[in-house]
Structure formats: structure tokens, C-alpha cells
């Protein structure tokens, strides 16, 4: 991978380059209080882009998998129906996507584009998406109480899957190209060649930042082993399930959750739209069939579905990574304190506590 150096005042010029290339650029902004969000960069708001800020609760997943997405437009005509797929293929860039969310999109890539069937809607939204990854280096502003990417091995600096990676070295930024498209930007005069001192500085910062995480241990390996081998006592699953309020919040903020439902809705007197919407395995109707039979009996069955799906070795093997990227959002939004780090800890401790004294 090639790297270049960008002077601090020039870093937002990258946004200008991407916009000049005809892309819609999404960048992080600060709202009120803790609130931060991704929004489309305009001439008006460009100056308010912030790089060091808490990662937005809503992951940038919606740029490849919108919460509501139209799949088909169906028009009644001459006694029959005209069925038309409605594709969106925007040219977009996400400027300032964190390493955890880069891993999230990579997970979605493997899930929606892998195995027997490819998802054409996802594929089209993903095709022209340019990712400018931003490495979390500021322990106060970048790294939240719940961040645990060290434990999922997805951060603080993504090792790939980005087009360009930016890291704050102080007065300058280091830009690393992850793809030919990213490297192509280096022809612009804002990018300068670096020195060995820059590389040493990058190493030193990363070394330091790794020690500044607040949630330092989440014992995934142990939890994966217990979950995969059926070693989690039923009582522990129940305890976890009993703390779930079935709000679905964890799944909506998760950058790696993939479930959706499909619904038809009227879009005019003779027109129907088929849309897909994010769905959540935590919700009670998720598996309920017509007629009312629900194969997931106990509430904790479905409430724990999420953790089983993310931690069972079978799925990790299938998707080549567990479906958790360590962003900590589920831990931040969960009212019952059963975000992923808490659950990993409960599972890890359970067999020991359940064992006869």
C-alpha cells in the first residue's frame, strides 16, 4: 500500500476532490450534545465537517442498505401487471468512516454478495461507493466508553477494505491508499511523499492509542467456544433474554446486522411498490407464521437469536468473520445492558458459575 502526507489545512480538500469527481460525499457532523451524524456535504456545511468526534449512533450501513428501500414498482395495465425493478446506483463517498464501520461494510459485502445468490440492490449501491477511513487516534473525542474494536480485531486502524485511510499525525495527516482508485488521488499536489519519521510517528500513535481504550477486554474466543459447543447453560440464556425489552435498538444500530422484511404498499391508484425494510430478530413477530404458529417458543429463544447468530462458529466459518465489529453501539443503546460486551462476559463466566461447587 502506498502512503502520502497531507498538510492539516488541506485535508478537507480530499472532500472537494471527491465532490469534483461527481460524487455525493457523506461526512460526519456534530448535532446537539452527544449527537453526531453522517450527512451529505454541501458548499454550505463543508466547513462544519468534524473528523474527531464520537462515532454516530446510526452506522453508515444505510448508504448500502437503506432502512426502507424500494425493490419493485408494479403497475396494473391491460388486465396484467408491469413489473419493473427499481435500482439505485449512486456515486458516493463516505469521508471519515471509522474502522469498525469499514469492517461492517466488508461483512455486508460477504453476506449479500457471497454464497449462492447475490443481492442486486446491495451490489449496485456498493459498486461506486468510495470509502475514506479515518483512524481513531483521539482517546477523548474518537473512542467511546463502549468501543471494543481491539477485541474484534477491527481497529483502531483498518488493515484493508478502504479506498483511502487517513490518520491524524498532529500537524499532518497520513493518507494510505487501499485500492487503485484511492491511489489515483495521489496525483493531486496536496499529497506529498512522507519520510521514515512519519511512519515511526504513525506506529507510536497507534501503539499509544491501543492502551487508551476504556473497554479493553471482551473475551470473544471463550464466548464463541461456549456458544458453538452448546456450553452456555439454559439459565444464562434466560438471564440474558429476561433483560431484553424487545425494542430492536441493537439491531438497528448494528453495522453488521443483515435481516430485512418485505412489504407491498400502494403508490398510486394502479401502482404498487414492493419495499424492503430493516427487520430485527429480537422482535416477537420475526418468525411468526400465518395462522399464528411461532416456532420460537420461549422469549429468550428469539432474544438470544442475535447472539447465537453472531457468535456461533458455524456462521463465522460461513462468513469468514463474526458478525460483530466492536463498535459498541449496541452497548450504548441497550436499556437492559445486554450489549455485545456484557453478553460475552455473561457467557464467559456462566459455565464456571454453573459448575457444581
Amino acid at each position: 500500500m502506498k502512503a502520502r502526507i497531507v498538510a492539516r489545512p488541506d485535508v478537507l480538500r480530499i472532500v472537494d476532490l471527491l465532490r469534483a469527481d461527481g460524487r455525493e460525499v457523506l461526512a460526519p457532523f456534530r448535532g446537539r450534545g452527544r449527537d453526531t451524524y453522517f450527512d451529505t456535504v454541501t458548499d454550505e456545511n463543508r466547513g462544519r465537517i468534524e473528523l474527531h468526534l464520537p462515532n454516530p449512533y446510526y452506522p453508515p450501513k444505510r448508504y448500502v442498505l437503506p432502512p426502507i428501500e424500494r425493490l419493485l414498482r408494479v403497475e396494473r395495465k391491460n388486465g396484467g401487471y408491469e413489473i419493473e425493478p427499481t435500482y439505485a446506483e449512486p456515486r458516493r463517498a463516505i469521508f471519515g468512516i471509522r474502522s469498525c464501520d469499514v469492517a461492517g461494510i466488508h461483512h455486508l459485502d460477504r453476506f449479500y454478495l457471497g454464497r449462492d445468490y447475490r443481492d442486486p440492490y446491495y451490489e449496485k449501491r456498493r459498486r461506486h461507493l468510495f470509502l475514506v477511513n479515518f483512524v481513531c487516534t483521539d482517546p477523548e473525542r474518537d473512542i467511546g466508553e463502549e468501543c471494543f474494536c481491539l477485541c474484534t480485531d477491527t481497529g483502531p486502524a483498518a488493515r484493508g477494505q478502504f479506498d483511502l485511510q487517513l490518520m491524524d499525525l498532529g500537524d499532518e495527516f497520513m493518507a494510505v491508499a487501499g485500492t487503485p482508485a484511492g491511489e489515483a488521488l495521489f496525483v493531486h499536489p496536496i499529497f506529498h511523499r512522507g519520510t521514515p519519521a512519519h511512519i515511526a510517528r504513525r506506529r507510536a500513535i497507534l501503539e499509544d492509542v491501543r492502551r487508551r481504550f476504556k473497554t479493553t477486554t471482551s473475551w470473544f474466543a471463550a464466548a464463541i467456544r461456549y456458544v458453538s459447543q452448546g456450553g452456555v447453560p439454559e439459565k444464562t440464556w434466560e438471564q440474558i433474554g429476561n433483560r431484553c425489552l424487545e425494542c430492536g435498538g441493537c439491531t438497528y444500530v448494528c453495522p453488521a446486522c443483515t435481516c430485512f422484511t418485505v412489504s407491498d404498499r400502494p403508490a398510486g391508484p394502479d401502482t404498487i411498490e414492493r419495499v424492503r425494510l430493516w427487520d430485527s430478530c429480537a422482535l416477537s413477530g420475526f418468525t411468526r407464521m400465518a395462522g399464528g404458529f411461532n416456532p420460537r417458543r420461549a422469549r429468550h429463544d428469539r432474544r438470544n437469536r442475535r447472539f447465537f447468530r453472531k457468535l456461533a462458529h458455524h456462521f463465522i466459518q460461513r462468513e469468514l468473520a463474526m458478525a460483530c465489529v466492536g463498535c459498541g453501539r449496541c452497548a450504548a443503546v441497550c436499556h437492559g445492558d445486554i450489549g455485545m460486551p456484557s453478553v460475552v462476559e455473561m457467557i464467559r463466566r456462566a459455565p464456571k458459575e454453573a459448575a457444581p461447587a
Binding site: 419493485l72 435481516c259 430485512f260 416456532p295
Partner: protein
């Protein structure tokens, strides 16, 4: 696996040809694709696969394919149970809906070559097994004994009565029927499906036999218990599962139970696999 089309979520227009009432709330819908090429491609499905059926404005649902690929016509047999199946039941011949598929693994019919086949169906559980039975009869030389056990609540609720009559007349096929409650001059057996196994004159072969079990949850549990007690191995008991599904292609997540996606890893599973999935059937 059939070659995946460019858009797996895009169904193709289908035309309803005729409707036949089977039992209360259950009808068979004979249909074909508007595009003959689509019809030709679809007809290469395997017994036990399913399709996604679209009723525009109401939605989409997964439906078993009761016909065998050896038959000329394509049809669904559907119980009216929710809003989408109600929309299908309201269609008239000539009306359009849409279909995509076939999906799922289907029964590995080649693996059963040289074996005895025992079909045990409770009520509308005969719908997904019908494909397998007709297919086996069309390739009669490949299989040994074929036994069909079918039970329903009342004589009016026996499925596919024309087929049952035909199978009963076919040499080399045993067809045993039972009802929970006799009515209207029923002089056949009365009792649950499993009670047929113990009737005088009935002998279910244990060696070199695959049993196909499909029916409501309670029937399934008792028949499995009976078969295991008779000495069947779990791997020689096969069923096909139904789940709420939105995509049929392993993406929406609704049918995922245990480590399996019913839509792509199933819907056909052995009881050995089902037992490990950890949900009600």
C-alpha cells in the same frame, strides 16, 4: 442449483388457469408462467423445492411445489390462512399473479435408489410429499416398496383424493388411510396416523428404508416417536420444514433456525439434523 437470474427478487408474471377445491379452506391452483421460456426453465425443479408466490399489493409467501417435475402441469395447493393466501384464494381463472423460484434443496431422490420409501402425511402435510410420491412412481424401477400412510381429521379432509384412489390401485404401492373422526359412511380405519403402523396386515420395513414425515407439529412428534420405537434411525427419517420467509435465497434471516437457513440449507432435513436445530417443528 439453478442458474441465478440477475435479480433474485424479481418474480415473473404467472397466469391462473383453473382452481380445484380440495378440502375446506384448501384449493389447488393450476397456473403457468406468461412467458413459455420461464415455464420451461421452472419445470426443471426437484421434488421438495418451493417457490415464492406474489400477490401484488398483498405480498409474497413461500409455497411447496406439490407437482412432480415428471408431470405436465404446474400448481400450488394452498390453505387460506393469512392475508396473502386469502388474496390468492380470491383470484379467478385468467387473473395474474407472479412466481419466482424454484428454491431450496429438495429431496435427494437419487440417494433413495434401491430403498423402500414410507410416506407418512398428516392433513395438508401430503402437499409437499405429493411431489416426491409422484416422482418415485414415475421412476418405479429405482425404488423398492412404496407405502403411503395418510391421516386427516375427517374423511372430508383427506388430501388429493383422486391421487389416493389412483395410488391405491397401483400395483406395488400400499396406501393406508385413517381419520380421527369417522363420518358419512366412512368404513376405514379410525385413529391417529401412527396407529396404522400396527394394523393387522401392515408391515413397515425397517431395513433399507427411508421414512418421509410431514404434518402438523403434534402429529410430527408422535409419528417420530413411533418410528424411533420401531427401530428407525434418525438419519433415515426425512421431513420438510415450513418457516416464515421473505426472500427464499438466504438473505432476509427470517427462516434461520439453529445454524441452518431453511430456504437454502432446507427445506428438506433428516430428523437427525432437525433435532439439532433446537426449535419446534
Amino acid at each position: 442449483m439453478n442458474a441465478a437470474p440477475e435479480n433474485v427478487y424479481l418474480p415473473q408474471a404467472a397466469i391462473l388457469d383453473r382452481v380445484v377445491a380440495e378440502i375446506p379452506e384448501v384449493k389447488t391452483f393450476y397456473w403457468r408462467f406468461a412467458d413459455p421460456a420461464a415455464q420451461e426453465a421452472f419445470r426443471r425443479f426437484r421434488p421438495g423445492q418451493f417457490a415464492q408466490v406474489s400477490l401484488w399489493g398483498a405480498g409474497e409467501f413461500p409455497a411447496s411445489l406439490p407437482p412432480s417435475p415428471t408431470e405436465a402441469e404446474t400448481f400450488f395447493t394452498i390453505r387460506q390462512v393469512g392475508s396473502v393466501t386469502t388474496a390468492l384464494h380470491e383470484l379467478r381463472p385468467g387473473d395474474q399473479f407472479a412466481v419466482r423460484g424454484p428454491y431450496g434443496n429438495g429431496f435427494p431422490m437419487e440417494d433413495y435408489h434401491g430403498r423402500n420409501l414410507v410416506f407418512v402425511a398428516g392433513g395438508i402435510g401430503l402437499i409437499p410429499l405429493r411431489s416426491c410420491i409422484v416422482y418415485a412412481l414415475a421412476h418405479r424401477d429405482h425404488y423398492q416398496r412404496i407405502q403411503i400412510f395418510h391421516g386427516a381429521k375427517t374423511p372430508h379432509e383427506l388430501m388429493y383424493v383422486d391421487n389416493l384412489r389412483e395410488w391405491a390401485r397401483t400395483p406395488g404401492v400400499e396406501c393406508h388411510l385413517t381419520v380421527d373422526r369417522a363420518a358419512d359412511g366412512w368404513d376405514g380405519h379410525v385413529g391417529v396416523v401412527g396407529s396404522l403402523f400396527k394394523r393387522p396386515g401392515v408391515s413397515v420395513p425397517m431395513d433399507n428404508t427411508t421414512a418421509f414425515v410431514c404434518g402438523p407439529p403434534i402429529m410430527f412428534r408422535f409419528v417420530i416417536r413411533d418410528l424411533l420405537a420401531m427401530g428407525f434411525e434418525e438419519k433415515n427419517i426425512v421431513s420438510t420444514l415450513e418457516r416464515y420467509m421473505k426472500c427464499g435465497v438466504g438473505k432476509c434471516g427470517h427462516c434461520c433456525i439453529g445454524v441452518a437457513y431453511v430456504c437454502v440449507d432446507g427445506p428438506v432435513f433428516t430428523y437427525q439434523q432437525i433435532r439439532k436445530l433446537g426449535e419446534d417443528i
